[in-house]
């Protein structure tokens, strides 16, 4: 039966399948094997994109692009967002918190594989090969992919659809409830922030950035002219002149060659 299926597909589809199927498998295995969580997430994204292309190949373009937009674009991006905050060097802890968890995990995994294989085998047996691309069936389906999905989503499956959207909304609101922290006191506005900044005892100006070779960040430090003398305009009449040592006022020889001496 597999051989019949393989003969029924076009060359382009076969080529795309044999390129993408190994990639999807590499992604799936890589997700489990990757040491770094980010690499695992990337592998999962690779598998999801390959699956989306498979959907598109199976004449379900809407499903394929929604898979890319929603799963790869939004959900995996949120995963990455969280994982990036953990730091680059975080690794999985291999410590067993439950006694015998590896044994039970192995048993459950074998059971799951058995269930999936049985279910898949049951679903695949007795399938017939259709001529040409599948066409939507139903009252108002027509030949439009989107219309057919909308038709079944909003008529046959309207109740599960509504239930799922309700559950998702509850989950989102619940997450907000857990993450919400009540603000202590009123929000500090621009005016309060500015008053605090200029309050006595606080330095109002910005600190010099790293790598700036300033001898002082005081507003009373006068500016120096290129020859090392003090620029008169840079001195405020309200601020007392500050003492500068001879070493501070001397040219710094930053040019390598001092022309003024």
């Amino acid at each position: 039966m597999i051989a019949d299926l393989a003969q029924s597909v076009s060359t382009g589809e076969a080529v795309a399948f044999w390129i993408l199927a190994p990639l999807a498998l590499i992604g799936a295995v890589g997700l489990v094997m990757a040491r770094s969580a980010i690499h695992g997430a990337l592998m999962l994204a690779l598998t999801m994109i390959c699956l989306a292309v498979f959907y598109i190949m199976q004449s379900a373009p809407f499903l394929g692009f929604v898979q890319i937009m929603v799963y790869t674009g939004a959900i995996m991006m949120l995963f990455l967002f969280v994982l990036m905050l953990f730091g680059r060097d975080s690794r999985d802890s291999m410590f067993e918190t439950l006694r015998g968890q590896r044994f039970f995990a192995a048993v459950l995994a074998i059971g799951l594989v058995g269930l999936l294989a049985a279910g898949l085998g049951h679903a695949v047996t007795g399938l017939t090969i259709a001529d040409g691309p599948p066409t939507a069936t139903g009252a108002a389906a027509g030949d439009s992919n989107v219309a057919a999905i909308a038709e079944s989503l909003f008529t046959t499956y309207i109740f599960p659809f509504e239930v799922v959207s309700g559950v998702l909304t509850v989950a989102a609101v619940g997450a907000l409830m857990f993450a919400h922290v009540a603000r202590k006191g009123a929000a500090r506005g621009q005016k309060e922030a500015s008053r605090e900044r200029f309050a006595p005892g606080n330095y109002p100006g910005p600190r010099p950035g790293p790598g700036v070779f300033a001898t002082s960040d005081s507003t009373a430090t006068p500016a120096l002219l290129p020859d090392g003398s003090i620029a008169g305009e840079s001195l405020s009449e309200h601020v007392p002149a500050r003492e500068l040592t001879a070493a501070e006022t001397a040219p710094k020889h930053t040019e390598g060659k001092d022309l003024h001496r």
């Binding site: 690499h39 692009f65 937009m69 967002f81 992919n145 005016k191 500015s194 006068p222 006022t249």
Partner: protein, 430 residues
């Protein structure tokens, strides 16, 4: 779309060449327009009007030393610019540039490919393109880069919702999801009956769906990380954001991807809202304007007009603060889009309704909803003048005039040891 393989290959290559040239042009265009806005000449040395400046810059960038930080995650570091550029270029595969033309003896559309849901391809590639920025920031192993990529991720996810909701209104109105079909649907004029007078309005969706158009344009600037929403690469805060550790061709790839994305979003906006390649005047004025190769002029004219809007925004608006930016996205654009889509659905149902009473109820309900949203939109707390007058100068906080400056702690010991001499006069004779 039944082109032979060789024609698809030629169209793909042409598309690539046109896009790269358009990027070179738009860098020059941006620098010249910003220069005009800032009353300075801008690049005017290389080639006529400085047109070859971006080519020279690109070549120079390609020959710079290619460095990789020691802390970088090598494979992801290499992969990130590739993802960014690939996704940016892929979006153009579905943009219709013009109607059917004769190319090498075959009738073909001026569009690489089109299918039932082709608008979703553009949205999907823009969602995947963010992976480039996010992975670039993470793999560089630098704090500035990581902060930039976190901002990029949050920004694109937030603004993609508003963008998709704006596009949804177009799907709603046209009942189509294919770029070519949406352009054709906009060519049909809308016949309006104003108190007995038949008026044929142009069917471009920026008129019919004006709120969606405004939301789309705002969200599109956020989605492409351009000023005033260029927070992921805010140079005054994050050096260069996600691209801080990149150099040479890899940096150039991010630059290329950013400009291709700008052009792609402009092209998508033109396609969805501004009639695509259709001429900007009624068909009857010049019937041949929408045939053959001429629509390329209208299409690129509209795209360049959008590029001008991008540059205009950059030249006039300061960068948003991050919380203000997020508030605009989640608390203004998304709820406004949702309300507008609800109202639009009710109006569309009302127009086709059989009974007069149903029609009035639906359309009236929609109008009441929109007006109520406008009137009762939760606004900020109004400004209350302070009870006591400010002690500062004219109400502005100023430093106190008797400001005593703490002495430099480093020279404190030296000052104590020396006898005070008049420093200012003594030094000026040097």
């Amino acid at each position: 779309m039944n082109d032979p393989f060789w024609l698809i290959a030629i169209k793909g290559t042409l598309l690539f060449v046109v896009l790269v040239l358009l990027v070179l042009f738009s860098i020059w265009f941006e620098r010249r327009v910003v220069a005009v806005m800032q009353v300075r000449p801008g690049p005017n040395r290389n080639g006529p009007f400085g047109l070859l400046q971006s080519l020279a810059d690109g070549l120079k960038l390609a020959f710079k030393e290619d460095t990789t930080p020691r802390t970088a995650d090598r494979w992801v570091y290499l992969l990130a610019p590739v993802i960014a550029v690939t996704c940016a270029f892929t979006a153009f595969a579905v943009i219709p540039f013009g109607p059917e033309v004769t190319m090498f003896g075959r009738e073909t559309m001026l569009q690489l490919t089109d299918f039932e849901v082709s608008v979703l391809l553009v949205l999907a590639t823009s969602a995947l393109g963010v992976y480039g920025l996010v992975l670039a920031g993470w793999s560089s192993g630098s704090s500035y880069s990581l902060l930039g990529s976190l901002r990029a991720a949050a920004q694109v996810i937030s603004y993609e919702i508003a963008l998709a909701l704006a596009v949804l209104a177009v799907f709603f109105q046209s009942q189509l999801m294919s770029t070519g079909a949406i352009v054709e649907a906009q060519a049909e004029p809308v016949d309006m009956n104003f108190f007995g007078a038949e008026v044929a309005l142009p069917g471009w969706y920026f008129l019919v769906l004006f709120p969606s158009f405004v939301i789309f344009v705002i969200a599109m600037v956020g989605e492409t990380n351009r000023a005033p929403f260029d927070l992921p690469e805010a140079e005054s805060e994050l050096v260069s954001g996600f691209a801080t550790e990149y150099s040479s061709l890899k940096y150039a790839s991010f630059f290329l991807a950013e400009y291709v994305n700008m052009v792609a979003m402009s092209a998508l906006c033109v396609t969805l809202f501004l009639g695509g390649w259709a001429a900007p005047f009624p068909d009857s004025w010049w019937p041949a304007a929408n045939e053959g190769w001429l629509p390329l002029v209208w299409f690129f004219g509209k795209v360049i007009a959008f590029m001008f809007v991008y540059v205009w925004l950059r030249g006039t608006l300061p960068r948003f603060r991050y919380d203000q930016f997020m508030r605009l996205g989640w608390k203004v654009l998304v709820p406004a889009s949702l309300i507008w889509i609800l109202a639009l659905a009710a109006i569309n149902l009302g127009i086709v309704a059989e009974e007069q009473s149903t029609r009035i109820a639906l359309i009236g309900g929609a109008l009441v909803l929109v007006v109520a949203a406008f009137m009762f939109w939760p606004s900020r707390k109004p400004y209350e003048p302070p009870a006591e007058p400010d002690a500062g100068l004219g109400g502005y906080p100023v430093p106190p005039l008797d400001l005593s400056v703490p002495p430099n702690p480093r020279s404190l010991t030296e000052l104590e040891q020396r006898d005070p001499t008049p420093a200012v006069e003594g030094k000026e004779e040097d």
